[in-house]
Amino acid sequence: MGLSLPLAAGPSVGAGWRRIKLPLTAWLLLLPVFVSLGSVSVYPILNGVWLSLTNTSLVTQENDFVGLANYTALLGDEAFWNAWRHTMVFTFVSTSLETILGLGMALLLFEPFIGRSVVRAAMLVPWAMPTVVTSKMFGWLFDGQYGLVNYLLRSAGLISENINWLGSVDHALGTIIVADVWKTTPFMALMLLAGLQTVPRSLTEAARMDGARAWKTFWFVRLPLLIPTLLIAGMFRALDAFRVFDLVYVLTGGGPADSTETLSTLSYKILFSTLQFGYGSALSTAMFLTETLIAVGFGVFIVRQLRRQ
C-alpha cells in the first residue's frame, strides 16, 4: 500500500521513497475531500453555468441551448433589480452594524471584570441557535399585535400605536436586519476579541506610559493592528449576508409586496416554485460571480494590509 514508511531506512533509499511514495499517500488521503467537494459543490456550480445557458424548465420539459438569453432577460427584469437592491442594502447595513457593534463588544470583553466568562458564554447562544428558530423568535418579538417590542416601545412612550413590523413595506427589511445583527454580532465580537488578544500588551502599555488617552491608544495602536482581523471577519460576514435566505424566507417570504425579496429567495422561488431551472440558474450564477467579486475585493485589501505591516 505504500502506507508504511520507516524513517530508519538509509538516507538515499529514504529520500527516494519519500519522493515517490509519500506524496501518493498524501494525495490519496486528500481524495475523499476532493471527491465530496467536487461532486457536491464544484460540479453543480459548473452545471449551473451550463443550465443558465438553456431554457430548462421542469414544467414545459424544454431543455435547449439559448445562449445568453436568460442573462439579457435578467437585466431587464424589474424583480431581479428589486431583489438586487434589497440584497445590497441588507449586506451593507448588516455587515457594517455587525462590525461596529462587534468591535464595541470585543473591546468591552477585553477588559477584565467579574462574570466575563458568563457574558462570553451567553454570546454563543445566538450563534448556536438554528436560524429558522431565530426567525420565528423575532417573528414573535416583533409581532404586530402581541409582540414584546411593540409593548416595550409603547410603554416607553416612543410609539403611540403598534407597528406592524414585518407586515409593512417600511419596516420589514429593517426588522430582518435587526434579527441578522442579533444572530451574528456576538460571533463577530468573539472573532475580534481573539484578534485583540494578539495585539502585544507592551504596545498599549507603552502608549499609556506616554500619556495617550484610552481612545487614542485604541485609534493609533489597537485599531491598525486589528485591521487584518476586521477585514477577514468582515469578508466572511459580507459573503454570508449576501446570500441571506433562511431569515427572509421564514420571516416574510420576501413580502410584503416584495419589499424584502433578496437574490437568494428570488432564485429559490424561480427554481422551486416556477421550476424554471434555466432562468433560475442564470440568477444564481450571477450571484456566484458577485460573491467571487466581493471575495476578491476583500482579498486584495487584506493582502495589501498584510504587506504593509
Binding site: A8, L30, L37, S39, F113, P130, W140, M191, S267
Partner: protein
C-alpha cells in the same frame, strides 16, 4: 482622572449587562412564552412569569405535530454527517499537516474557498442530480450534501489542531516503525481529542441548523429535519406562537448546553483563521 477611574467599572458592568440581555434576552423570552397559555400570550400587557404555567404547548408539539419525528430525522442526518465529516476531514487535515504535500496552503485555500460558494447556486443543479439518482426525500441525499458543506470548515479547524502537535512525535513514532495511517489513528487523533470533539460539534450544529437544502430536498415528515418542521408550523387561523416557542426550546436547549460546555474550545477553534498570520 479620579472621576474617570471611578466611572470606568460602572460603564463596563453596564455594557456587560447590555450584552448579556441582548444575547440571552430574546431566548429567555421565548422560554417564558413556551410555558404561557394562549390567552396569556394575547394579553395587552405581556407578562414574563407564566401564570398559570402550562405544558400544553409541549403536549401539542409532541402529540399533535409529531415533532419527535423531525427530531429523529435531524439526529440521524446530523449524526451521520458529523461522523463522516470527521473521518474525511481528519484524513485530509492529517495529510496536509503531516505529509509531503507541495503547496499545502494552496490546497487548503482551495478547500476553504469552496465554502464561500453561495449555496443557492448549488441547490438547483444538485436537485436535478439528486432527482436523477433517486436521492430526493432520503437521508442519504441530505447527508451527502451536508458532508460537502461541512468539510471545508472541519478540514481547516482539524488542520489547525493537528499542526500544533510537535513534529518530534512523528519522528519518534516512525522510529518505532509505525505506519502512516497508524500515526494518524494511534497518535495524532488521540492527542487532539478535545479538538476533534469540538470540530465534531461544529459540524453537528451546521447540519442540525441547515434549512435551504432540507427544504428543497425533502417533502415528507419521514425525512424532513427540524428547521423545515418549525418553518412549517402554522395553524389554519392563527400563528401558534406558544407551540413554536416550545419547539424552539426543545431544539435549542440541547445545543446551548453543549455549546456552553465546550465554549472555550469552540471559540478557539473558530477564531484561529482570523488571527493566524
Amino acid at each position: 482622572m479620579v472621576s474617570r477611574d471611578r466611572w470606568r467599572p460602572i460603564l463596563i458592568y453596564l455594557g456587560a449587562a447590555m450584552i448579556l440581555v441582548w444575547s440571552a434576552g430574546p431566548f429567555v423570552w421565548q422560554f417564558s412564552t413556551s410555558f404561557q397559555n394562549d390567552r396569556a400570550l394575547t394579553e395587552a400587557a405581556p407578562a414574563f412569569w407564566p401564570s398559570p404555567a402550562t405544558l400544553e404547548h409541549y403536549a401539542n408539539v409532541f402529540f399533535v405535530k409529531k415533532f419527535q419525528l423531525y427530531v429523529v430525522n435531524s439526529i440521524i442526518v446530523a449524526g451521520i454527517t458529523t461522523i463522516l465529516c470527521l473521518i474525511v476531514g481528519a484524513l485530509a487535515a492529517f495529510s496536509l499537516s503531516r505529509l509531503d504535500i507541495k503547496g499545502r496552503f494552496g490546497v487548503l485555500g482551495i478547500i476553504l474557498s469552496v465554502s464561500m460558494f453561495p449555496q443557492i447556486a448549488v441547490v438547483g443543479p444538485l436537485y436535478l442530480i439528486a432527482s436523477n439518482m433517486g436521492l430526493l426525500d432520503t437521508y442519504m441525499g441530505l447527508v451527502i450534501t451536508y458532508l460537502a458543506l461541512g468539510l471545508p470548515l472541519v478540514t481547516w479547524v482539524l488542520f489547525g489542531y493537528f499542526d500544533t502537535l510537535p513534529r518530534e512525535i512523528d519522528e519518534a513514532a516512525r522510529m518505532d516503525g509505525i505506519t502512516t495511517l497508524g500515526l494518524l489513528v494511534r497518535i495524532i487523533i488521540p492527542m487532539s481529542l478535545p479538538g476533534i470533539v469540538t470540530t465534531g460539534l461544529l459540524a453537528f450544529i451546521a447540519a442540525w441548523n441547515e434549512f435551504m437544502f432540507a427544504l428543497a430536498f425533502t417533502s415528507t415528515i419521514e425525512h424532513q429535519t427540524i428547521p423545515v418542521g418549525i418553518a412549517n408550523f402554522t395553524n389554519l387561523y392563527y400563528v401558534p406562537w406558544g407551540d413554536i416557542a416550545a419547539a424552539s426550546v426543545v431544539v435549542t436547549v440541547p445545543l446551548i448546553v453543549l455549546v456552553l460546555f465546550f465554549q472555550r474550545h469552540i471559540i478557539e477553534g473558530l477564531t484561529q483563521g482570523a488571527v493566524k498570520e
